[in-house]
Assembly symmetry: C2
Homo-oligomer: 222 residues x 2
Amino acid sequence: MDFSVVEVKEDVIRRNDDTEDKLRARLKDKKIFFLNLMASPGSGKTTLLLALLPKLAEKYRIGVLEADIDGAVDAATIATKLGLQTLQIHTGGACHLTAQMVEDALEEFDTDKVDLIVLENIGNLVCPAEFDTGANMNLVLLSVPEGDDKPLKYPLMFQVASAVAVTKLDTLEVFDFDFDAFEKGVKKRNKDADIFKVCSLSGEGIDELASFLERKIDSQIK
Amino acid sequence: MDFSVVEVKEDVIRRNDDTEDKLRARLKDKKIFFLNLMASPGSGKTTLLLALLPKLAEKYRIGVLEADIDGAVDAATIATKLGLQTLQIHTGGACHLTAQMVEDALEEFDTDKVDLIVLENIGNLVCPAEFDTGANMNLVLLSVPEGDDKPLKYPLMFQVASAVAVTKLDTLEVFDFDFDAFEKGVKKRNKDADIFKVCSLSGEGIDELASFLERKIDSQIK
């Protein structure tokens, strides 16, 4: 059976200023690299940070911004388990973060004590992609259980990603995930995106991702 | 180590009209029940529909609205596998659907031929919850791999849910999921929400969910 396609559109008022560039310039002056981590809810952002940040912490002083609509589960986890400077950002219901919101948050953050700021953005594969947070790099996660077709459905997120990591590799025994189809989908949106495969629980692939990030960070802060 | 909490907020311009009530009244006159299905990307919305709708189709004439930012993967699946009237809605990047957008879409839809309209909303645990689509009922899915803490992080979605179904029950062998904690989180947001446990692949729990929906549908259209 066939089906029809209809386009419906809502007017969206967008801000157009240079807050994001000013923030990037300010952080560059301070020799700070700003990494924006984006993904769906439950795709393993916090669990990846628990595996990844101890490796990066051997080389850099790290601070973490945890953005959520409500709650502080992840900030508590990061602060308790990793002992890093951690700030919980509540967006008051907003589905994304803007550079201005990051600016406001950083007023409560000691930027003199970090070389690397990691923002764990709101769990959402749509809205966060629409806003430049002022980050130097967007790292997008997609977990195996979410399925390999997501670049087709959420194009902008994969378009703005500098790198994509497929998480929860250990669940391949129970989920079908076609890596070729996924890579094709990602490359259709962004031919330059690097793709990683990781399992945060076993540590598989974490070293490769950490090395990649180190090269990106060093090119900014050294 | 402790962490700070900072509130940042973006201004959002909201429309305030009665489109949703007019749509609901119009569908009620036509004896149509409108079900809005919401969840994260990859939580199993389409797979649930493949298991659930054949049961409901024994009793009702069903039409499906598939909302996506781009692509038509799910509409193709529903139309091909179930042979139901299916309409793909593209939101032009928007992260949610409003009642006005549904109204616009329904102009391309034959409402004389259905008793039940199912909207598969954009995969997003944040924005769709903020907008009344004109539906009679919101069914929210959360898959086991996403984790039991989501009602804490995405409060509005669980607040507006009439019912919540935990999907991918078959993955409990590889994921920890504390149903008591989850239920407690849901009830904190919405003490009246009914909670179901399903596995769309094995069919576990589908009959119970179908019976529940039948009671809701019959109360509207009979």
